[in-house]
């Protein structure tokens, strides 16, 4: 039984057909990699899954519930965490406060006016940061962090509402190669332990082939291939349009 099921997604921007008929399914505890060259439509897919963009056509269901066209915050409340290709964190808040925002929002305690945030028990947020190796930097403002560290904070934020599904758009971009492997290994472990479904994109093929259970290849908005890493690696069409460009990153 798949947790996330996507059928026939379409999206055009003016004349650009960014996504044309993408269907996929991810099961709990499974890691599906969405790969493809620049401009293939990967980020657009993510944006349609978490509600940031309304698809022109197609359907997204989460555990059987139709979530097409819901607002991102509603989809988040259903247990979908998201990281962005270009990191989005609260620059003037500390790392700890960033995570606390997500926790408080999850508990619907954000609109409070009286007790200061600093009186809040930091343990749950620190525990999340600990898991991602960011606890030492908890007090630093997000605005001054290195890019790789920001990616880790984003993941901590995304995990704050105990998600069922993680959408990770290039989670390791801007990290050193060793860091990338470590972060994806950690993600994979968390996903398997907690039964979280993960959909991610990644330009680093080592990371993809090491951690993805299945791959889906996009090219100019269309699905080119889908299957196990071995199948995809052997697929001549994929070798043609995609792996031929591999040196570019």
């Amino acid at each position: 039984m798949s947790l996330l099921r996507v059928e026939g997604l379409h999206k055009s921007f003016g004349g650009v057909k960014a996504v044309q008929g993408v269907s996929l399914a991810v099961a709990a505890g499974e890691l599906l990699a969405l790969i493809g060259p620049n401009g293939a439509g990967k980020s657009t897919c993510f944006n349609m899954l978490n509600g940031q963009i309304r698809p022109d056509a197609g359907r997204v269901t989460l555990a059987g519930q139709d979530i097409t066209g819901l607002a991102p915050r509603a989809i988040w409340r259903l247990g979908v965490g998201r990281t962005f290709q270009i990191t989005a964190t609260f620059a003037s808040l500390s790392v700890l406060e960033n995570v606390q925002m997500a926790l408080l929002s999850h508990q619907r305690r954000l609109m409070r006016l009286w007790a200061p945030l600093s009186a809040e028990d930091p343990t749950p947020a620190l525990a999340l940061l600990e898991r991602l190796g960011m606890a030492e930097q908890a007090a630093r403002p997000c605005g001054v962090l290195a890019y790789g560290d920001l990616k880790r904070v984003e993941l901590a934020i995304a995990l704050a509402n105990n998600p069922r599904l993680l959408l990770m758009d290039e989670p390791t971009a801007g990290m050193a190669p060793a860091e990338r492997v470590a972060l994806m290994a950690l993600t994979a472990r968390i996903a398997r332990e907690s039964g979280i479904a993960v959909l991610f994109t990644e330009h680093d093929m080592d990371v993809v082939f090491t951690h993805a259970d299945r791959l889906l290849v996009l090219d100019r908005g269309r699905m080119l291939a889908e299957g196990s890493p071995e199948d995809v690696r052997a697929n001549p069409a994929v070798r043609e349009v995609y792996l031929g460009h591999e040196g570019r990153h």
Partner: protein, 605 residues
């Protein structure tokens, strides 16, 4: 039937002058992205200069029209001077700073005009040969207004040709559509910007000069025309010339028929139209969203006061409590005004700083509180205590209503919409004479007997205003304050973790309005009266100045800004008759040299 025709003709005549003013404003915005508050001042200068030239030159066709044209060109040159001296340096500053700097120019021009032409209204000569009226199907219509319509049409045509056919016009259109591309094309931007300023200012000057035969020249022309020009430009879509023409037609007709159909709400009507258009089409009838706003670098995380800071704050508080018995009546009144200023500034800072919203109309809520209290006293003989209690709720309610529209927008559009709503509130107070007393205000709003002594009232003001400011500070450090900062820092991330940015901003707006209303009520009982000026543009600007003077990015900013600004204002009033010009110069200097405010001048990078 004929009446309708005559009304629509006079609507066309107002549309023609509105278009001339708005065209300059919108072209300047399109290219430089600056909303020029001083555009109305250029219009006023056009009228004054034309007055001097036309009365000085001999009578006749050529001297009259020559004088009008010369006035337009002179104003064009004045616009260039302003651009080179001030605006050129702030093209990259956040919008609110630009608005403020141009408001500084407004103040300077007001005093220059006062010094040169004096305070009395000046009545210029009628246009030679155009004194009479023509017969329009049996109704009389001023001949000069027909000429004005023709001139408006001709200028529209000329501008259209200029923008379609000349290299300058092509560059202006390119810059309006995409400024980055223009830089890439290797165009001399400086010269283009200066040229655009000349053109826009000359158009404003021409419009002013052409008013000479229609109305007397006075020192209020600038503010009267600029609010209308803002409405036209915003309704048409900032940067869109056809939009300005369309909106000028619309507003001109609305004014002409509004006077006949709804004489009581003419002022409100115009701003109401603007509000409705902005809600339905946030970028105006023919405008487009422009590139992201320029923002300041992120502020540092919030920190509670250090032990030293806490000691200083406590000492200041104790001083404020211990000092009053030793002060004279005048000093006690000043103290109470300081406290009011602190709360007013803190309430605006609440939405501007942590909330990241722009408001150019915060006076609406200050005034709403003041009027709510005064109306309760006057019409229901309510005691002061009830007035003070009701005021924040009345103002907060108004904040909920206006805020519902305003908090959806950002940048210039938010500034313009908040301004429009404040003008609606002001016009209501001004025109609804039976209830508000109109320009004569409401008198006899005195405190309860126990609070009549100046000392008692000073303590009451301190308690309410500092208490209010402390509550706001508390909210900034509470989850809501963090949620406000979160949606400001990254709307994308906020939404992705379930934060409803609209609700957060809306609530924050209403809270800020409520506390501004409390400040307004304390102000009303302190003065014993309320006038429409309590919600006029200058009061909104006061609040903005206090916040920017103190620094948007610091929690202590509004406190420091309010004290510094109120002190400065007092001093300027005392030492010079031309305090407006001095204040304007200080505003400009502040924006140019200390964009982070006084509190932001510390060691922080």
């Amino acid at each position: 039937m004929t009446q309708i025709l005559v009304q629509s003709l006079s609507g066309l005549a107002s549309a023609a002058s509105l278009f001339l003013v708005a065209a300059g404003l919108t072209v300047i915005f399109g290219v430089t992205r600056i909303v020029n508050f001083a555009h109305g001042s250029l219009y006023m200068l056009g009228a004054y200069i034309a007055y001097s030239l036309v009365t000085w030159l001999p009578r006749g066709h050529f001297p009259f029209w020559g004088g009008v044209l010369a006035a337009a060109l002179a104003v064009g040159l004045i616009g260039v001077v302003v651009e080179v001296l001030v605006l050129r340096r702030i093209y990259k500053a956040p919008e609110l700073f630009q608005l403020l700097a141009t408001f500084g120019v407004v103040l300077v021009v007001q005093d220059v005009a006062l010094a040169v032409w004096g305070a009395q209204d000046l009545l210029g000569p009628r246009a030679p040969g155009l004194r009479g009226a023509v017969d329009v199907m049996g109704e009389r219509f001023p001949l000069y207004d027909l000429v004005l319509i023709a001139i408006g049409g001709a200028i529209l045509l000329l501008l259209w040709l200029l923008f379609q056919r000349s290299r300058f016009g092509v560059l202006v259109r390119a810059a309006t559509a995409d400024r980055e591309m223009l830089g890439a094309l290797g165009v001399n931007q400086r010269r283009l910007f200066t040229g655009v300023f000349f053109l826009g200012s000359a158009l404003a000057g021409l419009a002013g000069a052409l008013q000479l035969p229609r109305e007397s020249v006075n020192l209020h022309m600038d503010m009267a025309i600029i609010s209308e020009a803002f409405v036209v430009v915003v309704v048409g879509g900032l940067g869109s010339l056809p939009g300005a023409a369309l909106a000028a037609l619309l507003i001109g007709q609305m004014q002409a028929f509004g006077i006949v159909l709804f004489p009581r709400i003419t002022l409100v009507l115009v701003f109401l139209v603007m509000a409705v258009v902005l809600v339905l089409r946030p970028y105006g009838l023919m405008g487009r969203a422009n590139a992201a706003a320029i923002v300041l670098p992120p502020e540092p995380p919030l920190r509670a006061l250090s032990p030293k800071g806490r000691a200083v704050a406590l000492a200041a508080l104790l001083l404020a409590i211990a000092l009053p018995p030793f002060l004279g009546d005048y000093a006690l009144v000043v103290l109470s005004e300081l406290a009011i200023a602190v709360l007013f500034a803190a309430s605006l800072h609440f939405i501007m700083g942590p909330g990241g919203m722009a408001s150019f109309g915060h006076a609406a809520y200050f005034g709403a509180g003041a009027y709510a209290a005064a109306l309760l006293v006057k019409h229901f003989a309510a005691p002061m205590e009830l007035g003070l209690l009701a005021a924040p709720f009345a103002a907060g309610l108004l904040g909920l209503v206006f805020g519902w529209f305003c908090v959806r927008l950002s940048g210039v559009y938010a500034a313009m919409l908040t301004l429009a709503f404040a003008q609606i509130a002001w016009s209501t107070a001004f025109q609804w004479v039976e209830v508000t007393g109109g320009d004569n205000g409401i008198l006899g709003v005195w405190p309860s007997a126990w609070a009549v002594p100046k000392l008692a009232y000073a303590y009451l003001s301190l308690a309410l205003c500092l208490g209010g400011a402390l509550l706001l500070r508390r909210a900034i450090f509470a989850p809501l304050g963090y949620a406000m900062r979160a949606q400001r820092d990254s709307p994308l991330r906020a939404e992705a973790i379930g934060i409803d940015a609209f609700r957060v901003r809306w609530l924050a707006f209403a809270i800020a309005a409520g506390f501004a209303g409390l400040a307004g009520a304390v102000f009303a009982f302190g003065k014993g009266s309320v006038f429409p000026t309590a919600m006029a543009i200058p009061r909104s600007v006061d609040a903005l100045l206090m916040v920017l003077l103190g620094g948007v990015q610091t929690v202590m900013g509004p406190l420091i800004g309010a004290l510094a600004y109120t002190g400065l204002h007092e001093q300027l009033l005392r030492v010079t008759q031309f305090w407006r010009a001095a204040l304007g110069a200080i505003i400009i200097g502040l924006v140019l040299f200390f964009p982070r405010g006084l509190a932001g001048m510390g060691p922080r990078a």
